[in-house]
């Protein structure tokens, strides 16, 4: 979405529509593979999707009431934050007591490890749920998947193992983006001429990327990714404030 509006000068509303569709494409494509491997926790995903879909609907409705310049500035801020988050080393979560809600909702589960299934328990369900609602609002407002924030909610707050957090976050992104995409479709933000090449390009790119991922060093990827995001976010905020969008 930043590339569309910054490099090609596409109106930010068309860019939001095209971005949402490409988010659904990559998320669903990757989720198909992750679900089979058994890392994704469908119950956690389903329960937290209540927060993300209702948040996304709220965000998408609010988006029609605020200016595109304000959206650009908020988006730039989000990008800056995710660049920072991406460059930070992750810490390993330590075991503490379990959550009562996690028990009621049967969220605790296992994931495949080297020595057979490893069990984990879920913590701070209300806190994670609240952060998910915020992730949903940002997704609906900006037309993004807000995957980084979903991982933050599950990994840092709910203390879910990293591999389960990332794959379950990816699993939820499709549903969250679909909730916003419906609103944007009805509002005429999804243009077939722009969205078609973006969707097909993103799908082809993600297929190639998934193959390259095995051979590329993670450290290099993170630095490259943070650099690109940093430049885009600064430009987005500048354009939003100077009224060029």
């Amino acid at each position: 979405m930043p590339v569309l509006s910054l490099v090609f000068g596409v109106d930010i509303r068309y860019a939001i529509g095209a971005s949402l569709v490409s988010v659904i494409a990559t998320s669903s494509g990757a989720a198909a593979a992750y679900v089979r491997e058994g890392f994704t926790n469908i119950r956690i995903g389903m329960f937290l999707e209540i927060a993300t879909t209702i948040g996304a609907l709220t965000g998408a409705f609010v988006a029609s009431m605020v200016s595109t310049r304000a959206i650009a500035v908020v988006f730039g801020g989000m990008l800056l934050w995710s660049a920072y988050e991406e460059s930070r080393p992750r810490y390993v979560s330590e075991e503490t007591g379990t959550d009562r809600l996690a028990g009621i909702l049967k969220l605790d589960s296992t994931y495949p490890g080297l020595q057979g299934p490893r069990s984990y328990s879920v913590h701070s369900v209300p806190g994670g749920f609240a952060l998910m609602a915020l992730a949903g609002i940002l997704s609906g407002l900006l037309g993004i998947g807000s995957g980084a924030m979903k991982v933050l909610a599950m990994d840092h707050v709910m203390k879910i193992p990293f591999k389960v957090s990332t794959t379950t976050s990816n699993f939820m992104i499709g549903v969250t983006a679909a909730a916003s995409a419906g609103v944007y479709l009805n509002r005429g933000y999804i243009d077939p001429g722009i969205t078609m090449p973006v969707m097909l390009g993103v799908l082809a790119g993600s297929l190639i990327g998934a193959r390259m991922l095995v051979r590329t060093k993670t450290r290099l990827l993170r630095i490259l990714f943070s650099g690109v995001i940093l430049i885009l976010s600064v430009e987005m905020i500048y354009n939003g404030l100077s009224g060029r969008l």
Partner: protein, 129 residues
Amino acid sequence: MQTARSILSEEKIHAIIGSLLRGGVLLAAVITLIGGIMYLLRYGNAIPDYHVFRGEPADLRGVPGILRDMASFRSKGVIQLGLLMLIATPVARVAFSIVIFALQRDRKYVVITLIVLTALLFSISGGTL
């Protein structure tokens, strides 16, 4: 007699959901590609202007209009149907989960999944549910 739980093992459920998502994305990509080729044959030489936001015409904004355009083989309608298929893929996954949770007699999750499905249908129908 086998119980519903043993017929539908977790692994099997994961495999079915995986296939559902992959099938939906592939079908959506193929329809969008066909529409894209039709679109380029029709408008390939025109220079589009997306600097100014006009919004899509009414027939490309909702499910009935897109289906009508699709029936008359209009390229934009075909692309839009592909995009609609893509948006419908996660919705189909949620709808399918309701069936699974019902077979597992997991009432809590049937309710949770119904709430999510209602929010999604509300969005796609344009808030007219």
